[in-house]
Symmetry: D2
Subunit: 343 residues, 4 copies
């Protein structure tokens, strides 16, 4: 059994990690920390976990965490970078669900995240945990930077086009729609039921932290310059991301559908839908699947890709478990195979 | 492996059965019928099942169904009663998720359901599939009448009081709130997003088919006359039933909390919350659990029970799988142990 | 023109007052206070009011408020009682949308609201602003205690029965369902979209502040002792209260429907639906109407009343405007006549 | 008083017309037709209109309609074109809320709408009812083609850029999100609460009828070729359209914000938000306003416009009333001035 620790388990990615790990038969949840809730049973906060997770939250204790085989950070940005080094030295594998190790360019990271990075050297060693791109490296990694939710949906949608040099990478558009859980469990007016309900809006049009992460990922797939316009939207649903991606074809593409099907043929968690499909976010609710449909519009030479994930699963906790499976040489799908919840 | 057939699999209880059975490692889904969708892959209708259920819908064929070990009817009322006899004769176990075999009083059934019953003799043999009451009989049953959603939540909530003769059974009130999926997947104006969304209403105040079912169940637990006022409400959520139950105490009850905890101590799917709790329906979303809290109001001698289930799971497909597990001597919780989805 | 001031205008009752008063052709909104948002245009917080309310929030200034004809308190409990005396002395009419002046029994008030009352003498002078009961007194009042949302829906539903001595007042049950806006605009985890959405729960079963208010109101309508069991529920909609009321008939009631129709025949804002109706909350969304349906269940001698309001209108700001109209001898319906928003 | 008739009043645009016209003090609703509901009071179907609209639905009767001053068609496509000629001959003004008179190119209309056009000559005479473009013509018109919902939000958002030749009109993208009411009140599985709720999807990526309408409107504002990629999405809210518009700037634009403010300075129903704003759809819920924010992204030379309307008001019934006001020389804002409903 893999002994797992979770640092910062009171948010939505934390509870989702608990849900998934409690159903994973190779994992024992050894410790889950929360300063604010230390001493309180996890199931007091999350009654869905009654009978599934019986330990209480505890104060973060590096000594206990060092005894784990793997530690997940489900913390705000800036926490994992202060604790990772000591855990790695103790031989613990670390998966950070926040952004501390996602951007290779430290200056850019510091600019977008507004703080000084505590361990630039570890950033260099960290592997970006998108298995569909970095599977081999993840298997060998001791430190994985789990991708953001928008970046996961957007990169998986764009990659077949960019890897094959089929589109103008200077005019990409990603119009993304997120459920409210993407904003976390903090008590903010903007995400109250009566503020976010029955309404829809764009946000952060002038710039969002996931933009450099997406750009970095797409840049690694091409020699061309990536220029992406990224507009996120807050939409009145709990879970789900729908990325609508626009790319201008360089020339006629023979068979886009086949291209996508072949690119993801061996991927257990990317499902290319039949031609002319429109995936809905609920078709992946609670599951680790990314569903993709690709449409070509010959009239205006535009390729439109629709890519949906559950932001808390393939966009966070599920992908973290997928990465853990790879890092421990378990079957990649362990604990992640249940069908999505619909309706 | 148990070879399972599903008759009428296009509704919400059908897809939920498929979701649960596809994750049950002792079951193979052999056939799923639908006249309207025959020939179409199940996953065309329900993309969440892509990769989980690979067979197409087929025309109902009694020959194929007779080769199953168990057949679930996820059909409208009045279908199972026309096909059950032949299946039972062939040695197939039958679980009807509709109401054909729930009411022992044929006249009452015919009155509420507006049709003649096709096989009153089978009604007598059928076991009412509420494991918390009839576990031993279900184990021996060949034909199980799977309870309704309101009746499950309401009976589990009231039973400890009534079995122990603690309350006035002549003045019971069940004020029940249901998610919209309880109304099924039929194309009706009343359950459109813009009709049922952001609004709430009572319905069927003058009489609902689940009233005689609840009354029958409670009557078996007491020698007293049961008189229940039952008012269902349609509420703007997808899944979930919240039963708020009111019963007047005959006398001071020493320790209600202990009574409930003891009654359900060995039940894998009834979870009595700590004193002064208020279960929310999402704490059981996608799970087979019934969560119950009991409150006593000494001021007015009233006992208030809060009982929540997922109407499609413990209120339908999950309870059907629980019954199947019992009928085939499998561990009762097989395929039903995952934590609820929250948020 | 009536010069109106609003103290504490950043919550949902505040913005609703602004919406209604901005459409009232006899009212000029002179001042709206908020310590936290002083200096900021109202429409920065509430863009729906751009072009309708052009003044900024300002610090509460008793000098400015004294120059108003009427001051509304849309503040938390405990604020109005510290400012009302000075305004009343200056001849200003005061309408408190919070609870400071609702309960005549000061001890009971202090017990439920957990603070000492600042001006018990004013409580005695205040008129409880339920026009369907106290219209004449409201016309003469200088200080009106605007009723709570649950109390409005519940009293209007029960009153015809109790005024006429038709039911056992010792066993009343009010099972009430509220939209989330009833919990206000404060940043609390419990009312986040992902906590309150797609779920339903009871709360405060052991006791809610609106219970003594309802009991006081019903007690004034009868010589009998009122004993009410009141259970509020949080439901996933923005606006709306649905009160489901249960009362046991003392004897056969000749014509309940007629009784209700006659009781409210002259009421502009109480609409008794035809027999066998089920009002939905959206039928009163944004309007000041209370819609009521009454059902008798001869089988068990139970009378069931369904009563719906928009908690922010007839349950708060709309009723406050109705009271203002009465206090200033305007037509009672001024500014309140638009049809509800549906869908 | 203007005597108004409504043909086909049972859908969402019909009830919205009734809501708005019932609050318009210059209009009397003389007749509202529905074959299916003839004889039934309007308020049976729409209880929000009890006390506001007291007439019943009636069979369409050209004789009665000819006596109206104005007739609104809130019918499916293809109805108005069969009745308009006779009404126009009788001197009645006609406003079609469907698409019969929107496209000037008859062949294109016939291709997109899949039927033969009954009166191409009237199409030539019809005025496209977007007051911000065609105000003078609308004042003189006898037949107005009321714009579609997506076209209204999209054209108002793009027009200042295109009228001034600031962007590359060959690479426009409109990513639009609609509430479910845009799909109408028909009983379809796809718009059930449990299908469209808590989920989001694109639809009609291969082509939507509103594309030629938008293209036609934008083409009239420029000599350049318009090439627009338009992707509509179904989102889990009742009302609202959010258009996110992408256009590539030809060169640096001095002051986009000022450009938009000046373009719409005199428009009563277009509200340009301050720089760096993000309008939410609820800020226009129930109101006839289009709220617009414009963002320039110098990094990638992209201009992003956010444009929101209530699809049933400025996107349908409200704009129809605005057009009626113009056609009858009433103040343009009559009956349309109330603030939006928020929350």
């Amino acid at each position: 059994m893999i002994e797992a620790g979770i640092v910062g388990g009171t948010g939505y990615t934390g509870v989702e990690l608990l849900r998934l790990l409690s159903g994973h038969d190779q994992v024992n949840i050894k410790v889950i920390t929360s300063r604010a809730e230390a001493g309180k049973p996890v199931s007091d906060l999350y009654p869905n976990l009654r009978g599934h997770v019986d330990i209480p939250f505890s104060e973060p204790d590096i000594g206990v965490l060092r005894e784990c085989d793997v530690v997940f950070f489900a913390t705000p940005n800036g926490i994992a970078m202060t604790m990772a080094a000591e855990l790695l030295e103790a031989g613990v594998k670390v998966i950070d669900l926040a952004a501390d190790f996602r951007l290779k360019d430290i200056d850019e990271w510091q600019q977008w995240y507004g703080m000084e990075h505590a361990c630039p050297d570890l950033v260099a060693k960290a592997v970006y945990g998108l298995p569909e791109v970095n599977r081999a490296s993840i298997r060998e990694a001791q430190l994985v930077a789990n991708p953001g939710c928008y970046p996961t949906a957007t990169q998986l949608g764009f990659l077949p086009l960019i890897e094959n040099g089929l589109v103008d990478t200077g005019t990409l558009v990603a119009d993304c729609k997120s459920g409210v859980s993407g904003a976390g469990r903090g008590a903010n007016v903007g995400t109250l039921f009566c503020e976010a309900g029955d309404s829809l809006k764009a946000y952060a049009v002038s710039g969002h932290r996931h933009l450099p992460e997406i750009t970095q990922g797409l840049t690694e797939a091409t020699d061309d310059i990536i220029n992406l316009t990224f507009v996120p939207h807050l939409t009145p649903m709990i879970r789900g991301i729908h990325a609508t991606l626009y790319a201008r074809a360089k020339a006629d593409v023979a068979d886009l559908q086949l291209l996508y099907e072949q690119r993801y043929a061996d991927e257990p968690f990317v499902d290319v839908l039949p031609a002319d499909s429109h995936p809905d976010t609920r078709s992946v609710r609670s599951s680790n699947v990314c569903r993709i449909a690709v449409h070509a519009s010959p009239r205006d030479n535009m390729i439109i890709v629709l890519s949906v994930i559950d932001n808390l699963v393939k966009g966070a906790a599920g992908q973290a478990v997928q990465n853990m499976n790879l890092m421990f040489d378990l079957p990649e799908t362990s604990g992640l195979l249940r069908a999505a919840l619909l309706p």
